[in-house]
Amino acid sequence: DAGITQSPRHKVTETGTPVTLRCHQTENHRYMYWYRQDPGHGLRLIHYSYGVKDTDKGEVSDGYSVSRSKTEDFLLTLESATSSQTSVYFCACGGGYNEQFFGPGTRLTVL
């Protein structure tokens, strides 16, 4: 979806360093989501937001935090990156009950 961007698109970092991924949307969607994609697991929900400053945990939230201070931005933070967090991260946006639209993904490698 052209209205959803993620930055950075690729990142290599070292174990123990903090990492923040940014998702930006231009469509004024209320809901925003962070997923991680790993081989053999499909996409798994990390955290999601249902409004500014309103967030909730997903299936694999340990080691991650999120913040949403503006409707258009949803940040995912790895406070101290570990090798198990090497993955492809997708941001998605959507309305309450309908389909979700996805950003292009961020490939994160933790050495």
Partner: protein, 112 residues
């Protein structure tokens, strides 16, 4: 918790032929949405088709159609006249009053 199962990790189809990808799900709800997403090598997640559970009619989008069997909790995707560009990972997903829940995906290869 809702679960989505795709029992075929990999499938292949000859160009111009028809292929069906399987998906089953578990839920106690009566109103929900089901989706098929396509993920080509570019990694972009692309919505292929959507089905509302309250609709009996199967959804269709050009060469893509679904066979929605609510009682059996089955939601298969049929791709007709397969093209090389259909080669991708396909994910089935469920949504009720929650974020999408995905299956683990089926990798589809198209043979020229």
């Amino acid at each position: 918790a809702q679960t989505v199962t795709q029992s075929q990790p990999e499938m292949s189809v000859q160009e111009a032929e028809t292929v069906t990808l399987s998906c089953t799900y578990d839920t106690s709800e009566s109103d929900y949405y089901l989706f098929w997403y396509k993920q080509p090598p570019s990694r972009q997640m692309i919505l292929v088709i959507r089905q509302e559970a309250y609709k009996q009619q199967n959804a269709t989008e050009n060469r893509f159609s679904v066979n929605f069997q609510k009682a059996a909790k089955s939601f298969s995707l049929k791709i007709s006249d397969s093209q090389l560009g259909d080669a991708a990972m396909y994910f089935c997903a469920y949504k009720q009053n929650t974020p999408l829940v995905f299956g683990k995906g089926t990798r589809l290869s198209v043979i020229a």
